[in-house]
Symmetry: C2
Subunit: 358 residues, 2 copies
């Protein structure tokens, strides 16, 4: 029996509900593959602010560090929106990424055949879309120094952030991206703004240099504005995309929304060593929290990503992914993906259907 | 008779062809409204690099400064793609913006009823979309100091750009945006990344403060990743958007591509005083240059924007805009917007149809 220590960070809003379903699914899949999960729950985000005053208590980070993988649900809510930034739920998330050195964020945007019509784009444009965005997650303008609000000589305020990357930061994310592309269609598109930004010029130079080690992967480059256009115009042209923290934030969300069903999309954030963090792309949806309305499938698929990328258990991961497709085939839909002729279910019932499928 | 000095910057690729059509249209509309245009042509972009070694020769900037408005076509092409950055066509464009202090970029994204089907989005999602993106154009990470590629203590390279805004930079673009929204549906959405960036926090604070002077305009705020999603999900929710230079670059292109016909979209770049620059959103399309295949309508609509915003001649502007709609109604289409049952024409023939419509 393989033993894994999993930190659960249910967070805020619908977080606890969807996490409960993912835990049930993991507990069901475990015995089938001789895996045993030891779960430890810790507070993050608004829940942690309420309990400790901090969005990422040191004890939570410690628990994460001691575990084999971290499953995160969602953070944030109106309640904490007006706190100063260092006390905001998002700041806890950024601190978690930095604290675990999670420099690579894998964000799939996959159109499931069962949900093609949920997209705002035409069927023939999105059918078969299968994009993986590899976003750098611990550098760029999110973390660059200097930053702050300073006073200029003329006495007015100036807000400043620094968009910066070192060669080694670029190299390591580029390698993750090439490796990822290798397991997919072997097409990697690097996105930058090298026609304007020095940091992007260095980015482009390094990605191009690293490409020499991956002759089997076809590398292309796009400016970020053009990439945003191409995602809307013809998303099928993309296989794997690699880009910096800020561009990745924007493009991975745009790509996710092409599917029309962000309640279905998982993500993985990984480092060079140590535990990764696996979480749905969607937010904490405070408006529907606690009402058994949430879609748990992105959380469940995040658990599958954890098995695949974090624990190297691809068979168990595939089985979960197949179970998700099966419940969709059986017609079960939560409110966010409901369409005519389907069976509307709540969060718990969706979990029940999954357990049956497993 | 009103006399106007117009600087023409045809630039590269299809630039000269589409500019020729716009000039014909202006010459036709002039007498009808008692306007006389004195055109002076100057080199920019690749053409200027070839002629002078610089993408924006001092003489060109001087000519622009002396004129009442600048009509620009398009710059760039493969030929100049590998020059060092300070010699690249794009650098000429940035220098023009800085040199004329064009801090406000107005980028409409309008779906024309005749071209709804060109969109990759579903008809009911895009029908009636009419968005104006007000992009700050002379600040932010495009121009912030320090910037460059530096050596770190450990001897590796670090690419750096600075994303910065002062209060006064934010205030003046916010005012342009509120004024713009006032002439539209009185809804302004400000886009930033205030949950992560200090510069965005200052942006949000200032835009909120300026809003006090525009109680008739409804102000909302979105994070840039969410804005990218919402543009894809439900673009009709937007009226006027205001944002910084980089976010505006990305979002205005994404918004433009929602229409599916960027060959139709004009833009205006204006300053506090002095001439504005009016140009199509599309590029120089070197692959079809010189073959009478280009769509001149965005260039013609840019001339209309010039009349409206630069020369305060809204009637003449409206007449041109109506002529564009009329030739579309008559079924004329260049290749980029061609669809079944329509009449395929080249650039010149489209110009001819416009002149007839006028
Ligand atoms: C909440 C926010 C700080 C975060 C980010 O910008 O990285 C989110 O948008 C994401 O993409 O995970
Ligand atoms: C060519 C480039 C420098 C320019 C920009 O990024 O501003 C272009 O993309 C634009 O939007 O006008």
């Amino acid at each position: 029996t393989q033993n894994y220590r999993i930190t659960l960070l249910p967070g805020d809003g619908i977080g606890p509900e969807i996490m409960a379903v993912a835990v049930e699914v993991l507990n069901a899949i475990g015995p089938q593959h001789d895996l045993q999960f030891q779960f430890e729950e810790a507070p993050i985000g608004g829940a942690a602010i309420d309990a400790t005053g901090e969005p990422l208590p040191a004890a939570t980070l410690e628990t994460c560090r001691r575990s084999d993988a971290v499953l995160l649900a969602a953070i944030g809510g109106y309640k904490w929106d007006n706190l100063p930034r260092h006390q905001r739920p998002e700041t806890g998330l950024l601190a978690l990424r930095a604290g675990l050195d999670l420099f690579a964020n894998l964000r799939p945007a996959t159109i499931l055949p069962q949900l093609v019509d949920a997209s705002s784009l035409k069927r023939d444009v999105v059918e078969g879309v299968d994009i993986m965005v590899v976003r750098e997650l611990t550098g760029g303008v999110y973390f660059g120094q200097p930053k702050g609000i300073f006073e200029t000589e003329t006495g007015e305020k100036r807000g400043v952030n620094t968009m910066a990357y070192t060669e080694s930061e670029i190299d390591r994310i580029a390698r993750v991206a090439f490796e990822t592309a290798r397991k997919r269609q072997r097409k990697l598109c690097s996105v930058d703004k090298a026609n304007v930004l020095d940091v992007s010029q260095l980015w482009r130079d390094r990605v191009t240099a690293i490409a020499a080690d991956y002759p089997d992967v076809e590398l292309s480059h796009l400016y970020v504005d053009n990439a945003a256009m191409q995602l809307v115009r013809q998303p099928k042209q993309f296989d794997t995309i690699v880009t910096g923290n800020l561009f990745g934030d924007i493009l991975s969300d745009a790509a996710a929304m092409l599917t029309g069903s962000i309640g279905m999309l998982p993500s993985a954030s990984i480092g060079a060593s140590g535990p990764g963090v696996y979480e749905p792309v969607h937010g904490s949806a405070p408006d529907i929290a606690g009402r058994d309305l949430a879609n748990p499938l992105a959380q469940v698929l995040s658990a599958a990503m954890m098995l695949r990328y974090g624990l190297n258990q691809p068979e168990a991961a595939s089985k979960i992914e197949k179970a998700v497709l099966q419940v969709l085939d059986e017609g079960y839909r939560t409110g966010d993906i409901m369409s005519e002729g389907m069976t509307a279910v709540g969060c718990k019932a969706m979990g029940g259907a999954l357990l049956k499928a497993l």
